[in-house]
């Protein structure tokens, strides 16, 4: 199963990046084989709408789940429409640790936006 994490650098031993829309990299990981590939976040410098852009990226990757530290209302609604499940890093510090904890069923699943939006139209 394919999952996506937000990370600080482009590899499996990277620290996690707690921001979904503004994280530096998206790490796409096969959680069974741990085969991974990293993509720079296309929305990292966007003036607004980073959450919806990031959600679209995740949906295009056909990932089953997204793991981050924060899902705003736009990202949440978009990912839910795309049937992508959302989880929080919790105490995980690295991407590898996060995948292990995901596989063990230890990550908290997100059932509502975790905070207000960050970048409304302005």
């Amino acid at each position: 199963m394919k999952i996506i994490l937000t990370t600080v650098s482009p590899n499996l031993d990277s620290e996690i990046d707690p921001r979904f829309g503004r994280g530096a990299y998206f790490l796409v990981v096969d959680c069974d084989t741990l085969v991974w590939e990293a993509h720079p976040n296309p929305g990292v410098d966007s003036a607004g709408g980073a959450g919806s852009l990031a959600a679209q990226f995740v949906a295009n990757q056909k990932a089953a789940a997204a793991i981050s530290g924060d899902f705003g209302p736009n990202a949440y609604n978009a990912l839910r429409s795309a049937d992508v499940e959302m989880y929080l890093f919790g105490t995980s510090r690295t991407a590898r640790e996060t995948v292990e904890r995901f596989n063990a069923g230890l990550l908290e699943r997100v059932g509502a936006p975790t905070g207000p939006g960050h970048h409304p139209r302005a």
Partner: protein
């Protein structure tokens, strides 16, 4: 003649100055008192000083996209062209985020299936009517929870146009970002109201820079002046900024404003002061 009153820092006395200037001009232009626009649509308060009676009202909305899922092929052209990421194609669903939308219409134009139609999404209201001393008054109000003030200001300025020869005073929002630029754009002169504090000076620098970008001449009114902040005077000298008026830091003024009085109500001699400010503005714009 179009005069904007802005400040950079909030709470320096923009509305007190703008309303007092309007009252003063109404006194010498009784055949055609000025038009006053409260462009601080997130927190309009000039009505507390000028007591308008609103007789006309219009909704302000942006045209936002609606996607006909029966026609949509989820090709993603709309999402690609949207620079605000207000429309996203997620597998077999196309999702619109109204609060991110700027109403530009690009998605509608680019949709090869003609699956997008547009409908107004209300974000605020504009209203106008006669006010104190024969002043024509208009203001915008952004709805609670709406994040984008600029379209309300743009529509207010288009809707409330001056009669030929009528002076217009625009009371700007605080700051130096889009809503202020939208207010100030097209003015002949910008009055910046500041106070002798580090915050006041910091934001004044930004506001002066903005005016420079827009190519609008600037004059300064220093409010709550206690004569003890040389950094502000140095900045004025270095930037060649004319100081049009200094208003002292005085309890009676604060008390009057808190009661809803203009400076001209509190100290009638300010009618003269503001008329002189206007003469200076008229002179400097005719030179420019």
């Amino acid at each position: 003649m179009k005069i904007s009153v802005a400040s950079g820092k909030g709470g320096t006395g923009k509305t007190m100055i703008a309303t007092s200037l309007a009252i003063s001009l109404a006194a010498i232009m009784s055949e055609q008192p000025p038009l006053f626009l409260d462009c601080d649509v997130e927190a309009p308060n000039a009505h507390l000083f000028l007591h308008p009676e609103f007789i006309e009202r219009e909704d302000v909305g942006l045209l936002i996209p609606f996607v006909d899922e029966a026609k949509c092929t989820h090709c993603g052209k709309c999402a690609e062209v949207c620079q605000y990421h207000a429309i996203a194609v997620l597998g077999q669903k196309t999702l619109v985020f109204p609060q991110l939308c700027h109403g530009c219409g690009s998605c509608t134009v680019m949709c090869p299936e003609k699956a997008i139609s547009e409908a107004p999404d209300r974000m605020g209201v504009i209203e106008r009517g006669p006010a104190a001393a024969g002043i024509s008054f208009a203001r915008g109000i952004l709805d609670v929870g709406e994040p984008m003030a600029t379209p309300v200001i743009r529509k207010l300025k288009r809707w409330a146009q001056p009669a030929p020869g009528q002076v217009v005073i625009y009371d700007a929002p605080p700051g130096a970002s889009c809503p202020v630029v939208e207010t100030v754009r097209g003015s002949n002169f910008l009055v910046l109201v500041t106070e002798p504090t580090p915050f006041g000076l910091h934001d004044l620098r930004l506001a002066v820079q903005m005016a420079g970008e827009l190519g609008i001449p600037v004059g300064l009114i220093i409010n709550r002046d206690n004569g003890s902040y040389p950094a502000l005077d140095e900045f004025c000298t270095s930037q060649n900024l004319p100081v049009l008026l200094r208003i002292p830091f005085e309890r009676s003024i604060a008390e009057g404003v808190a009661r809803g009085q203009t400076l001209t109500d509190i100290h009638p001699e300010y009618v003269n002061h503001f008329c002189q400010v206007f003469s200076q503005i008229a002179l400097s714009t005719s030179e420019g």
